[in-house]
Symmetry: C2
């Protein structure tokens, strides 16, 4: 039981972390996630940490790494379900979870992914228009 | 870390079982689920068992109990992500998971819940029509 299951829901991959992460479990999760993002063409990864009583620097770094890998594979990462006590400890430890978006719960996380995708889409359209204008101009 | 987190996604509650269930964890999960169904008015419970290498009679009974409780609270229960080896062991052990619907993955589980709700809705409408006819007749 040392693999964290990855659930696909529509365009999104959902991971619920409930066990203490060992080095091996963390690396396995990163590999599994990268593979699933590519295999499914998902654009969002939601990581639920409701069950975690504490997020130490190891878990924090793992979350950052997952977010970076996902970013490279064109997927947004949102961490959801953080307990108030965990947030307080994170700040006290000076861990800032760089590059990680957070949301209160899975539903808001999904909205955040959708919104981020929409923004990106708008930007791409603007780029396309700009390209078109550049091409059109003599 | 002896509580299994319950995630709300739209009309559905999602539970991903990843830890070995003790008596206490199982009872806690049943209570938490019953409370969340009532609090959120959810109509479906999806239990993901991808992470389980084995489903013994204890876990089987827990799943049946959860399904029965949900049924009373007007929610469908679907168990998803069962491994082939688990299915084989279940049959060999003579456990039949009475009253439990299963689906291959979360997405199909959601479809199953939606379909079950639609069927029920149709039946209710038929009842209403029948009632209306009965009332209309002299």
């Amino acid at each position: 039981m040392d693999r964290v299951p990855i659930l696909k829901i529509g365009d999104i991959l959902l991971v619920s972390i409930q066990v203490d992460m060992s080095d091996q479990t963390a690396v396995q999760l990163q590999e599994d996630l990268a593979e699933r993002i590519v295999a499914t063409g998902s654009h969002g990864v939601i990581i639920d940490i409701t069950a975690l009583d504490i997020v130490d620097s190891f878990v924090g770094r793992m979350l950052s790494t997952i977010a970076s890998i996902s970013k490279v594979l064109d997927a947004e990462t949102v961490v959801v379900g953080m307990r108030p006590a965990v947030a307080i400890t994170l700040v006290e430890l000076g861990l800032s979870l760089n590059g990680i978006r957070t949301a209160l719960n899975v539903e808001r996380g999904m909205e955040l992914v959708a919104a981020a995708r929409a923004d990106e889409h708008d930007l791409e359209e603007l780029d396309d228009e700009a390209d078109a204008e550049t091409t059109a101009s003599p």
